[in-house]
């Protein structure tokens, strides 16, 4: 039998070349087919049919935190999915923001000539990197934030923000004609883009330097300011106020409530990811050789110019790819939200919605595909960026 196949293949080299691949392909198809068949049988037994029609049905469960998206129990599952996705992106954005700031500071302090500072940064990195993220999250949520005072004795930040066990309450911006203001900012950014382009062209042509930074600073201040003066834009604040809900229960009403789940998650994610970003930053700065700085100084650049024109472009080339990877990890790690009941994509959709509908295959697949698309989108962007900044050798 075996011999027969071998001689058969030996006579037809073209088929022999593709034979292992055909086998692999058949094997993959077989596995997928087998799983699909089993799933079909199982779903038939339970009386559910495969499909995405359930997304249009009424969700009939409430979500505790729904910024930006109008949501209540009467809305369909698709809307609940959207709320979850937005909440995931919110916590990822907050986490990325703070992790970057902290990571850069720690990474630079790690290289400080001051012994105490570099040692403390090193220990910060060693401590926070080597404790599981879930444990840190639980510590912030169940231990640290639970030790906060009740709303009645909330920690008061200059009568603007109030921090209590119920979360952080900050004033809400109430805009009239807010969209005009938004457009003016977009217009300012576009204008700045062209200013920078123009200065570069001018400098290449005539060698004259136009203070592009000052001009753009002016644009971004003046344009939005004009909207207040003549565009009919005005801004008021809605302050959170302490109200007595019942005999012993007090809470803040109004303003924007940042729920403790969000605070704990953002704290844990940024403190954890900052350690990895710090290492990336350190590697990047150490990757620029001393000779580069000396060469730049010898042609008469000022220290500021050396940093801006010589060190940073080279350091960023090393720093950015691994840092983006860390951003991606942070976004994926934000799914730990499910463990402390922050209503993110996993908790809302793969948790509550799945329990209610019982559609395991559809829901888990959608959830995984969502994360997968975020990952793939970021890696495509990354590859494009890498190609753009790669050293162009002639």
């Amino acid at each position: 039998m075996n011999l027969g196949i071998t001689t058969f293949l030996d006579k037809r080299p073209k088929i022999k070349k593709y034979f292992p691949q055909i086998i692999t392909l058949l094997f993959i198809i077989f596995i997928f087919g087998y799983f699909t068949y089993n799933a079909q049988v199982n779903m038939d037994n339970r009386g559910i049919d495969f499909g995405l029609r359930f997304l249009g049905e009424e969700a009939s469960f409430d979500i505790s935190f729904t910024p930006f998206v109008e949501y209540d129990g009467t809305k369909p599952y698709a809307k609940a999915y959207l709320v979850g996705l937005v909440n995931t992106l919110i916590v990822a954005a907050i986490g990325i923001f703070f992790a970057t700031i902290l990571g850069v500071i720690i990474g630079i302090s790690r290289l400080s000539s001051n012994y105490l500072i570099s040692k403390i940064s090193e220990w910060y990195i060693e401590i926070f990197r080597n404790i599981p993220l879930l444990l840190q999250l639980f510590f912030w949520y169940f231990a640290a934030l639970r030790a906060l005072p009740l709303p009645k004795e909330a920690i008061n930040f200059f009568d603007i923000a109030y921090l209590s066990i119920k979360g952080l309450y900050v004033p809400r911006f109430v805009w009239t004609n807010g969209s005009v203001f938004l457009f003016s900012i977009v217009a300012a950014i576009v204008a700045i883009f062209f200013v920078f382009k123009y200065t570069r062209i001018q400098q290449e042509k005539s060698g004259r330097r136009i203070p592009a930074f000052l001009i753009s600073l002016g644009i971004i201040i003046v344009l939005p300011l004009l909207t207040f003066l003549i565009g009919g834009v005005s801004l008021t604040f809605e302050h959170p106020e302490l109200k007595q809900l019942s005999k012993t229960i007090y809470n803040y009403i109004g303003g924007v409530a940042i729920i403790p789940e969000l605070m704990a998650l953002a704290a844990a994610l940024s403190l954890y990811t900052a350690t990895f970003i710090a290492e990336c930053v350190r590697a990047g700065i150490m990757g620029v050789t001393k000779g580069q700085k000396e060469a730049a100084a010898s042609i008469g650049l000022t220290p500021g110019q050396i940093l801006r024109l010589v060190v940073m472009p080279q350091a960023l080339r090393i720093i950015i790819p691994p840092t983006t990877n860390q951003y991606l990890n942070l976004t994926k790690n934000s799914s730990l939200a499910a463990a402390i009941a922050y209503p993110d994509l996993v908790l809302v959709f793969a948790g509550t919605a799945m329990m209610q509908t019982g559609r395991a295959i559809e829901i888990i697949s959608i959830t995984m595909l969502t994360y997968l698309s975020i990952s793939i989108a970021i890696s495509i962007l990354m590859n494009w960026y890498n190609k753009k900044i790669a050293i162009k050798e002639k």
């Binding site: 292992p20 799933a39 080597n130 639980f138 030790a147 790690n333 799914s335 888990i364 994360y371 990952s375």
Partner: protein, 421 residues
């Protein structure tokens, strides 16, 4: 400003005996002020105006460090101090701030952790409010380590881990000739022995269902099994990704990128609710096994990328030389390429294992209780309410010791293999 500070002249070597005592005096005055302030609630500088009062230790310390900043003083210790923490005014302020923050925070922390903490006793009542209640950890310790595993059978878990450690340690000391066999035994035979010992059900061992497994031992059971199982899969995926055959290559790329693109939590959810749907009707698979399979597939994708890194680092000459000896694809890879590539990526494998250990607490979301899960359970026990902090601090310290040592070990390996080539 500088002139006022320099009323005694610039700090220099000539006036060493004048400036050093003044500097030390002012610096220690700052330290004493902060110490008294934060620990004993005594304010020795209360005669200063209120706003200034807050900054007095900083000002004293700053002046002290300024006077101490004598270049080439001739005193070795002072020179070393100046270079390391007192090189300019900015550094000296940072130094002072760090020292003050440490003085303010370390003693209360130590108080809570050790000095005021409670170690003796058996119930919640033996704990005072001022310090940590380590009695909680003491009472729950067996549960935190072994989960709900029956007390009488604990020796089985202990034995299997002692055997594992002995075998791994033995690996470093036995002669090279036997090493091969020991590795094969460790990878292909030992997991079954260990599993059988813990799971029981035959050879006169009582059957312990997997829902009773838990605690820190579960972390290691899952990590060890997932690591052993993900290794061969990762190897094949890495080879597949570098293969010239499009079907194999794209299948491997698809597999790797899929698992690397999704968070572990969704993978665990998949294992717990979606995977049973894919099994034939009537076939039931234990949740723990489903989770181990899921983690294995997840880690295999990361392992594949690590191994691929090693394969890429090998020079082309190795392939050409092996081919010129007439070796086929498998012999080439098994005898020439993989042994070298794997040696290159040992640190990477150690890092993957570290990430795996750090990721295992996540299995809590599907209802398996390892260390963190057991603490979650213990803290909601009516007799022991309100000790969440102690539990998490304990688990944090334990995990930190494990992970820190592993990361140090992998760094050492990295250095070792860097010089080898």
């Amino acid at each position: 400003m500088i002139k006022i500070i320099n009323f005694l002249g610039t700090p220099s070597r000539e006036k060493f005996s004048l400036f050093v005592p003044i500097g030390i005096f002012l610096f220690s005055l700052g330290l004493i002020d902060v110490t008294l302030n934060s620990l004993f609630d005594v304010n020795i500088t209360s005669f200063f105006p209120r706003g200034l009062n807050y900054f007095t230790p900083l000002i004293f310390g700053f002046l002290g460090l300024y006077y101490l900043r004598i270049e080439f003083s001739g005193n070795k210790m002072l020179d070393k101090l100046n270079i390391n923490i007192n090189s300019n005014w900015f550094n000296s302020i940072l130094t002072l701030l760090i020292i003050f923050v440490l003085i303010q925070n370390i003693p209360p922390l130590l108080n809570w952790l050790i000095i005021d903490a409670n170690f003796v006793g058996t119930t919640k009542k033996d704990c005072s409010d001022s310090g940590a209640c380590w009695i909680f950890i003491k009472i729950w310790f067996p549960r935190l380590m072994y989960g709900l595993y029956p007390n009488a059978e604990l020796w089985r878990i202990n034995t299997s881990f002692i055997m594992l450690i002995t075998l791994v340690v033995a690996l470093f000391y036995i002669p090279i000739k036997l090493k091969k066999y020991l590795i094969i035994f460790l990878i292909f035979v030992f997991p079954f022995i260990m599993f059988n010992l813990i799971h029981g059900g035959n050879f006169g061992l009582v059957w312990v269902e997997t829902t009773a497994w838990g605690g820190l031992s579960l972390t290691f059971i899952i990590s060890v099994f997932a690591l052993i199982l993900c290794f061969p899969i990762g190897m094949f995926l890495a080879l597949g990704r570098r293969s010239s055959a499009p079907v194999t290559r794209y299948a491997s790329i698809g597999f790797i990128e899929f698992w690397r693109g999704v968070p572990l939590i969704t993978v665990l959810f998949m294992a717990s609710v979606m995977f049973p749907m894919f099994l034939p009707d009537g076939v039931y698979m234990d949740k723990l096994f489903r989770v181990i399979i899921a983690i294995t597939l997840f880690e295999a994708a990361y392992m594949a990328e690590v191994i691929r890194g090693g394969l890429q680092a090998l020079p082309r000459g190795q392939y050409d030389a092996a081919k010129s000896l007439g070796m086929g694809y498998w012999r080439l890879h098994l005898l020439v390429i993989l042994p070298q590539a794997l040696k290159l990526v040992i640190p990477g494998i150690a890092n993957t294992f570290l990430a795996l250990v750090k990721d295992t607490p996540l299995i809590l979301v599907v209802g398996l209780l390892e260390l963190v899960g057991m603490i979650d359970m213990a803290k909601t026990n009516p007799d022991w309410l309100g000790f969440a902090t102690e539990g998490y601090v304990f688990a944090g310290i334990l995990f930190w010791i494990i992970c820190f040592n592993m990361s140090r070990y992998s760094q050492r390996l990295e250095e070792k293999y860097k010089t080898d080539r």
